[in-house]
Symmetry: D2
Subunit: 361 residues, 4 copies
Amino acid sequence: MSGNTFGKLFTVTTFGESHGPALGAIVDGCPPGLPLTEEDLQRDLDRRRPGTSRHTTQRREPDRVKILSGVFEGVTTGTSIGLLIENTDQRSKDYGNIKDQFRPAHADYSYHHKYGLRDYRGGGRSSARETAMRVAAGAIAKKYLASRGIAIRGYMSQLGPIAIDFQSWEAVDDNPFFCPDPARVPELEAYMDQLRRDQDSVGARITVVAEGVPPGLGEPVFDRLDAELAHGLMSINAVKGVEIGDGFASVSQRGSEHRDEMTPEGFLSNHAGGVLGGISSGQAIVAHLALKPTSSITTPGRSIDVHGNPVEVVTKGRHDPCVGIRATPIAEAMMALTLMDHLLRHRAQNAEVRVATPVLR
Amino acid sequence: MSGNTFGKLFTVTTFGESHGPALGAIVDGCPPGLPLTEEDLQRDLDRRRPGTSRHTTQRREPDRVKILSGVFEGVTTGTSIGLLIENTDQRSKDYGNIKDQFRPAHADYSYHHKYGLRDYRGGGRSSARETAMRVAAGAIAKKYLASRGIAIRGYMSQLGPIAIDFQSWEAVDDNPFFCPDPARVPELEAYMDQLRRDQDSVGARITVVAEGVPPGLGEPVFDRLDAELAHGLMSINAVKGVEIGDGFASVSQRGSEHRDEMTPEGFLSNHAGGVLGGISSGQAIVAHLALKPTSSITTPGRSIDVHGNPVEVVTKGRHDPCVGIRATPIAEAMMALTLMDHLLRHRAQNAEVRVATPVLR
Amino acid sequence: MSGNTFGKLFTVTTFGESHGPALGAIVDGCPPGLPLTEEDLQRDLDRRRPGTSRHTTQRREPDRVKILSGVFEGVTTGTSIGLLIENTDQRSKDYGNIKDQFRPAHADYSYHHKYGLRDYRGGGRSSARETAMRVAAGAIAKKYLASRGIAIRGYMSQLGPIAIDFQSWEAVDDNPFFCPDPARVPELEAYMDQLRRDQDSVGARITVVAEGVPPGLGEPVFDRLDAELAHGLMSINAVKGVEIGDGFASVSQRGSEHRDEMTPEGFLSNHAGGVLGGISSGQAIVAHLALKPTSSITTPGRSIDVHGNPVEVVTKGRHDPCVGIRATPIAEAMMALTLMDHLLRHRAQNAEVRVATPVLR
Amino acid sequence: MSGNTFGKLFTVTTFGESHGPALGAIVDGCPPGLPLTEEDLQRDLDRRRPGTSRHTTQRREPDRVKILSGVFEGVTTGTSIGLLIENTDQRSKDYGNIKDQFRPAHADYSYHHKYGLRDYRGGGRSSARETAMRVAAGAIAKKYLASRGIAIRGYMSQLGPIAIDFQSWEAVDDNPFFCPDPARVPELEAYMDQLRRDQDSVGARITVVAEGVPPGLGEPVFDRLDAELAHGLMSINAVKGVEIGDGFASVSQRGSEHRDEMTPEGFLSNHAGGVLGGISSGQAIVAHLALKPTSSITTPGRSIDVHGNPVEVVTKGRHDPCVGIRATPIAEAMMALTLMDHLLRHRAQNAEVRVATPVLR
């Protein structure tokens, strides 16, 4: 209830501060009998890990995850799964200034007013480091969903002003940007190099797609599948917008254009992004998210301190110039967790439903 | 858990089908001692009601709400508040075709696969008529929030291709579009008249603003205030996108531009839309939502029936050519419910927090 | 979250004050396709209804329940089910004294301190009248469970000092006490007649049994099936104790006596009451509950008023001299709701589990 | 939702198997600013620890708890608190027989049917070892409650056939039984020595008392304070019954005897156990629980194996002959967690309530 749990049947509860001794999570509700190893989780953690190219922070975070419970003889037992990542790169340093200042666009000011105090070391709980546990937990969901024919993948669809068209899934994992068009990678690299020289940061747009989702997932009214996806994706650090299907482009569309017509062979388009009336239609589920530019930049900014005095804040340390670059695995994880939860919720109520109508793609 | 409840401490649970005998809701968790009358709820219901101009459906829905419990001697008692609206305009008609056909872009196909059957009369539970109860419940939240200095208001910021700049709150209630610029109203009317002649529909963009929100609302990690707002707003029928603050425009912004600097007098900008690290900053909370064009248009569309055969669907009946026109009070309601819930959640944990730093606007 | 909802997947949310215009409930999460009529609910409501013998309150409460949504063409649709009972016997009377006094053993004093005010008419929300909605909602769960071979029945096992051995289910519905031994009914009648002459009240013990429950229901650790049953049963007005199986008799049992041994033909005893490690074993689930004597008696009692002054409270009006007499259908309802919820929860996670070992009874 | 979380606002989520690498918990919702050290948790863990007398299992479990997050500079920050206890006494041994057999009165059979497989090492998740994390989390709640004047203490009120009257709190911690009467300790020791010679086990009754609880905690209807206490206490391993106040003795009491009359100086009795209408009255909250005899005894018992064949089960290893002996700190922890949760829930809704009437004890 205090916000550190996601999901209702397949739940993920997390803890951990950026510079504390460890991050951890408890995954509850996983069906028994799923083959699961630490390596299954490590794969996605490595995709999110910083320091793999010159375009992300150079912090060294090996992020080795341990499974502490819920798996026995190689398969899940149905009991809660404890996960732990020990923090190894906690440089002991002087936090003097950060302690009393509110960095612009950071959570410092709002945490201070919420709690009356805050763990100022590296952003504490508000650090994007928290997302490592989302990725670890999401990998469990992904593995279960994959066993049911559901694949979840994401890519960068825009970096700052550079919009990128989707070309192929193969391309996505071949570059540090999750860019789906290999021809555009040099342009992205040049842009990032200039950005570093400008000592500035920029936003990004990520697209996540789930294929193989059966029709029927999602609940009517408040817990629509798209509403829960929006919840999960907007809860990622730095996300400022979420679209399902055509999203904001729908505003200027006409009904005759937007509606996805059906034939016995399938849907003729997918403006809806795979969700009708809040419930999956069997088409690919498509979501887009907007990430703001990194707040930590070395250009000084105006702010105040905890006493209300004006100060000039200069952020030091190692930061991603575009948080969006590493966001793709996180977005995939949140979509996987959302779909997993709804798969179980749907099954609880509707396990006995048998429908004759063919499923359209 | 089956999706008909919103909120965790201030909860709204609803029922009711478009053509059933009644709609209802239970509002739980309201603080005691709040003066409340049916008229307080009716005001917003009347703002949402169809048939008040030629640009919305001509269905007659008086939508008189009754308070059945939880209010005694004019004030809330702290116990659950039962609300009821009887459906009065249920024309008995022939549903023959609709019964076996899946209308494109409607929930027919997805409900059918979820439940194996559906109440096909007027869309049943998937009808936008369901939102009446959101508005009624939201009015309770609004009234409590107003007593704490929090005002929630919305307006139409785009109709189809026509973007509308904000001019004044006074203008908003003076026209059937919730248009904040009186000079643009004739243009909107002309557009809608042409749209009707084209037998088509169009989307819209709505903006909702909460002023007077104290800093500290929202929970870190998964239940960020912006994530919960996205959940609530995306759960409204026809919504395909949600933005907080600059939203998707943040993608191409630089960090030096996006970050809202602070001085002792206040924030210098509000790109963040009033939320930092998932927690309210004390600035105005600003959200935008995209609504798709109405799916029910009289232009025939291709589809299939429940046996998988191809059919041509022609929608008859009285429908809004732009569902966005009546969406403003609904969006306000969902923002009010979200803020109310987080006000109580924040108070539960942090009632004893006292902070010296001044609150910036 | 404010306590008016029971269950996690099959949820019941209720509203209504004793002397308000109506009682209502929303049942969410019911599987689609269950045949359901108002008569299905009315049957159990009639079993709970007062005034059917001289041993219960003579208030006339026809308690006709209406289904307002979620049922279409005679079967549930999977959407939320709205239920309503209008209060018809609200005598307009003088509440003068009750308004300012705290009746001993009633919720007056505790509600006053919780909320700062209270609906004093007939106990408001704290009245046992609230349990009508539990019975109505429980009847839906009972009907679904019955379709899966699960039968839930209860009986009075003790009235004041008179312990009653179980003889037959047939006997239970043949007398106003839910007494399972027809030979003991005259003794109970004589006891109650004397109690009325004494202007006093007495407690009772109720036993509820669920047969046909498959093994596997219940969650380990905190949401054990017995823990959730205890929650549900203890939430009934006037209940002060709950036992599963041998309950408090287990305290003085030895392990060699208590443990239920198994053979290929089945369990050799059922001291556990059908729950092992918090999970159903396939045996009959057996629970006992203790109800305190009715607090409303005509014998004057010492108390204070809202100003802290001493007063003598004399309860008038029509009250049950033993609330336990009508408690059996309520206890059945709470057990049905608990099992229904856990059936769905179990199915969500473990739908794919297939076990070779035979189920023992 | 899968049962490993307790509480709604102050939540505890746990993981860990008896013979796995570690036990852990995440405590969410703790108010910020509470001074907290590992030693605060260790104190109660040591009270629960086995092997401190010859009357409990001789397993060596140092149970050193680590706080991994949520505490900074000696006080809680309001973010989630990660707790970890590494398992150190995992003897590698031959589980051959246990693997395929269902031990009578254990969770083996029910887990097997629920999940289709189970971690058979030492009972896996169903082991009472799981309660260590309840005690650790409960210590946080206890510390916060203590800062508000609320004290929670328990004692053994019956061991097998030996009922024990309360004499003093001082006595409780001076013997390995949590016996509140020093004069009875030799009798308990003699009984236990004989029990060991008999190779048998026995049940116990524990009483828990909370003093200083303000009136107003608990929610009407389903989440009554006593219902939630029953939930929490019944969720402890081996508990088969829960009573509030006079509990089952209320069955044969008359209303004139049971009702607790009030004078301006206070209540004249406490038959209710501190709860009226599900809400705390300001009196001491009193609960009793019944624990069954330990199931693991060295006397052989009849059972079946996973193939349905009859087997004779002989339990080896180190087991408590009376699980009730170490249950007192666990019961205290569950009462502390329940009260803490309701303190926050009450505050969320009713923080602004001010009542003139004096609080009676």
